[in-house]
Chain length 270, copies 2
Amino acid sequence: MNKNAIGVFDSGLGGLTAMKELCKIMPHEDIVYFGDTSRVPYGTRSADTIIRYARQDLNFLSTFEIKAALVACGTISAVALDTIKSDYSFPIVGVIESAAKAALKISKNRRIGILGTQATVNSGAYERKLTEADPNCKTMSIPCPLFVPLVENGHTDPNDPLTNGAIELYLSKLLPFKADTIILGCTHYPIIAQAIRRFVGSETNLINPGKEAALTISSLLHENGMSNNAGVGKHSYYVSDSTDNFETYGSVFMGRSINGEVHKIDIEKY
Amino acid sequence: MNKNAIGVFDSGLGGLTAMKELCKIMPHEDIVYFGDTSRVPYGTRSADTIIRYARQDLNFLSTFEIKAALVACGTISAVALDTIKSDYSFPIVGVIESAAKAALKISKNRRIGILGTQATVNSGAYERKLTEADPNCKTMSIPCPLFVPLVENGHTDPNDPLTNGAIELYLSKLLPFKADTIILGCTHYPIIAQAIRRFVGSETNLINPGKEAALTISSLLHENGMSNNAGVGKHSYYVSDSTDNFETYGSVFMGRSINGEVHKIDIEKY
């Protein structure tokens, strides 16, 4: 047993969709969340900038005695994780590998669709993980740059006309590919999963990478005798911009009101 | 005559819509542009963060011998300008005051609509400038948070269904107010002026704040004998993230291909 906390971080508050899954799977664990709200979004920035920001995020989480870190951000997992993970003494689990494994486990026709930010798609990280594990697997990646602003501006109702317009615009290209499994490759996308599900049909598998990464962390800690099995885990939240409205915006991603203290830190110091 | 350059800055590349107007009005002037592309957008951040970023932007421009600065960003003009402008020895012209003056000059019914980012609208800066100058003037402000991501993702065709959907969503609220003049209170909005114009009708005046700020700078320099009247102005561009794709994205806002050198700087050093 190891009582240290698990760190979760993201470019903003979207990573709370992964935190939500981790809380459900590991209710006894202390969890520290960091959202880089003063520099969100990462998805439109260059690889150098994303790597620099990700190092600062992990340096900050390292100031706590954490036993593992979950990179909730698709962009950081795709662009920075392989470069920086050996610099830290604790295991760091990204969303890409976990989601790719889950997709290959469930797909029957080996045709997998990937939705993500422009940076995630440009990185080719999902395709690489998928085809390394199964060279016969076929992939099609679609950048969906309007999904994040739509979710962040409250267009989350399954009947929202703008969200459905964007889904039609992006996912029409995917239909002829006949993917039986689609990876929702950005923290925000599970929030509009219901509208996406309606467009692609009920037979298609939708993979939530945050949930898959939470399951990976859980297995890792269990296998190494490092999980907590008693008590109620404490949750704390750190952001790099104002904590005003954290509850309002955060609860959209957590799917419930947020328990735990919220603090502001200066990420440029790390 | 003063041969020093004019500085123009913005949270990103949107301020190039103001630079474009300044180049047209003052073709003999050297102009230095800074776009804070590693931290864009400012519109969703707290006032403290916006003020800190704006100081760094002006500190960077101060490393050139500039004779005046144009704040192309509606958010910075609204939230930070009054706080920081006295810290600098050169005049700093924001978009708010210039656009408010132009709106009052042209409006007949004294009913003025303001479209802007959430931060610009929350600041109440346009309303304050308008009602200070004319206490009988009535205003209605509408936050249009999806316009920036729509423009940045290429949805600029006047017939684009998503852009027209967003225009309908936001501007329907403005129609009963019967504004005869609408301020396009964010650098990106002039790019979709044609679609906005179609929705509000040809009788409504649309104010482009970047153009009005450029006219203000031009008058200020002429009146003080500080303008250049000969030669072709040199233009240089600085950004805080990668210079890749600057030409592609920048030309959307400049309305033409970009002449001049593009450099990357580390804005956190200023």
